[in-house]
């Protein structure tokens, strides 16, 4: 126990600035995702939110683990079971963008040891693909909202078609972009 505690203290003393900031972004985006999930006036079951908070802490502490998936799944299930309207509004877009930022920050934090020394510019290493995917997400939301309004009762065929278009667009962009 003493050795374990000593090891934890030594690691905390050596924590690097960039890994800590990446973890902070994971926590912040998780908080935004939870807030955006709660914000609409519908009743989200508390259990999912508690699970989301817990898994967000795990995802921030150990980014290279299943914590991030559990968090995203908890948020998605909370939307699936709690929303009283299926319409695509600002809250779902904000939630999707927060999940995206949390995912990328978690991937960045997992790419290096928590004690690694790194240049702060490394935090913005993947800003361009993230911005492209974020733009694709907003475009998808707009497309889905437009298609959903034109079809009766929600045409899931059109929704999936919109997702395929968005994914193809992202694929094309990533293959032509100079950013590695």
């Amino acid at each position: 126990m003493t050795d374990w505690w000593r090891s934890i203290r030594a690691t905390v003393r050596l924590l690097g600035r960039v890994p800590v900031m990446a973890r902070a972004v994971v926590l912040l985006s998780s908080a935004v995702a939870i807030a955006a999930t709660i914000a609409p006036a519908w009743d989200v079951p508390d259990g999912y939110l508690y699970l989301a908070v817990l898994t967000a802490l795990v995802a921030a502490t150990v980014p290279d683990s299943g914590g991030g998936f559990c968090f995203a799944a908890a948020i998605t299930v909370a939307w699936a079971v709690g929303a009283d309207t299926y319409a695509v509004g600002p809250a779902v877009v904000v939630t999707a963008l927060a999940l995206l930022v949390g995912h990328v920050a978690g991937a960045l934090a997992a790419a290096m040891p928590a004690t690694a020394d790194a240049d702060p510019s490394l935090l913005l290493r993947w800003w361009r693909p993230t911005a492209v995917v974020a733009g694709g997400t907003v475009a998808t939301a707009a497309l889905v909202a437009a298609l959903d309004a034109r079809s009766r009762g929600g045409s899931i065929v059109l929704v999936v078609a919109a997702l395929v278009v968005a994914a193809t667009g992202v694929w094309w962009w990533s293959s032509t972009s100079g950013e590695a």
């Binding site: 991030g68 998936f69 998605t76 299926y86 995206l100 997992a110 240049d119 693909p129 997702l163």
Partner: protein, 429 residues
């Protein structure tokens, strides 16, 4: 069994793929366009990451800027990844490992840097704070592809050895040695001959060199006079290490030193001093931690001595019976480095002094008490300290000086004293 280096999907990529699949599934089955929007970023990230998957995993190479340094000296450890032309992805993270005697800057010995896909180099300042051979390895080299989708697994960079020489202790001494006897060297002998230090001006004798004639005195006295000199001689210095017990804590050049640390540093410093003066220096370790080195001279011999010293093992290992000394060269200066806590040291010193050698003892016992101890242990330690003081007094009575190691000038006074003693009429001591 070694694993092949390869690119493997990360938790992040699996998360993106799983969330995309689950989101689309829920969206289709439940007819929920809002869930499809939540899945959209994961579809994008998964597609981007999969499309940018590197094909061939890189290799890594570990290089030291200087493989041999002195204690406290800083060198650089460099890890080069992808020199073989394979992709290094977007981010390269490395982590170095070594024993407690090596410190790093950054202190964590871990560094992450951006990579453009080609060869990537990361350097970490490395400082060995204790003499010895320190193995430096790279337990972790990780290359991560775009958006953290794939990461290398099993990159091995081998290990390098940083040889750290114990020459940090500054040491200097006067040129007095008790019985300089060799043919070359810088010490003033007890007899006159070819040398550099003037001895006297005396009348010319047959055999004197013409260039020694002192013309000023000769013209004043009307008789040829020459300036005679003391001949320069070398001596044989035998360094005797007593490493039977390693007393105290070793914290490197910046902290406390154990008796083995002090002995090794002092032996290196004394050897360097006398070898620089052209003397022959040999090394014997009674504790068998350091291999013996026969007498020799020159810079190459210094390296042989240092190589033997850096290989000294630390730790309280049980040693077999101490080395029994064979008769050494008559007139040799024996410098005995010992913490004087075991029975072997004083016994060997007494034998050497009895055989007529000039012995100087350097006390290597550290100053500070090592750790707080229980009352009975403290009492026992005090009793042992009193016995030790009595043994040191006894050595003094035998004509064997005992000095504490203090770096520069430690041996000046005792060497002067034993030199005067050596010039005195001989008698059995």
């Amino acid at each position: 069994m070694t694993r092949a280096t390869r690119w493997l999907p990360t938790h992040a990529h699996l998360r993106a793929v799983a969330m995309a699949a689950v989101g689309v599934l829920i969206a289709i089955l439940a007819g929920r366009p809002d869930i499809a929007v939540l899945a959209a970023p994961f579809i994008g990230v998964a597609a981007w990451g999969a499309h940018r998957r590197p094909r061939r995993a890189p290799s890594a190479e570990l290089v030291l800027a200087e493989a041999t340094v002195f204690e406290g000296q800083v060198t650089t450890t460099t890890v080069t990844v992808g020199a073989d032309g394979a992709s290094t992805g977007d981010i390269v993270a490395i982590s170095l490992a070594a024993g407690p005697a090596v410190t790093w800057r950054p202190r964590s010995a871990a560094r992450a840097s951006a990579s453009a896909g080609g060869p990537a180099t990361s350097s970490i300042a490395t400082r060995a704070v204790r003499w010895g051979r320190h193995s430096i390895s790279v337990p972790a080299v990780a290359c991560t592809s775009t958006l953290g989708a794939f990461r290398t697994d099993g990159i091995a960079a081998g290990a390098v050895v940083l040889t750290t020489l114990p020459l940090s202790a500054e040491f200097d001494a006067g040129d007095a040695v008790p019985r300089p006897a060799g043919l070359v060297g810088l010490h003033r002998a007890n007899r006159q001959g070819g040398g550099s230090e003037p001895a006297e001006v005396r009348p010319f004798r047959v055999g004197d060199r013409l260039r020694r004639i002192n013309w000023r005195v000769s013209s004043r006295t009307g008789e040829l006079h020459v300036t005679s000199t003391w001949s320069d001689r070398d001596t044989h210095v035998l360094l005797l290490l007593d490493t039977e017990a390693d007393v105290g804590r070793s914290e490197g050049v910046d902290g406390r030193a154990s008796s083995l640390d002090i002995a090794v540093r002092a032996a290196a410093a004394i050897a360097e001093h006398f070898l620089r003066a052209g003397d022959r220096v040999g090394l014997i370790d009674l504790g068998r931690r350091v291999r013996s080195v026969p007498p020799g001279s020159g810079r190459r011999h210094l390296r042989r001595l240092l190589d033997a010293l850096v290989a000294a093992e630390a730790g309280p290992n049980h040693r077999p019976e101490p080395v029994q000394l064979r008769p050494t060269e008559a007139g040799a200066l024996v410098v005995f480095l010992s913490p004087l806590v075991g029975p072997a040291g004083p016994t060997q010193i007494a034998q050497l002094a009895h055989h007529g050698h000039t012995v100087v003892v350097v006390d290597t016992l550290p100053d500070e008490p090592t750790q707080p101890v229980p009352p009975w242990t403290a009492l026992a330690t005090r009793v042992r300290a009193l016995e030790r003081a009595a043994e040191i007094d006894h050595l003094g009575e035998m004509g064997v000086p005992v000095v504490r190691w203090q770096g520069r000038g430690t041996l000046d006074q005792v060497l002067r004293d034993v030199s005067r003693l050596a010039m005195a009429p001989r008698g059995r001591r």
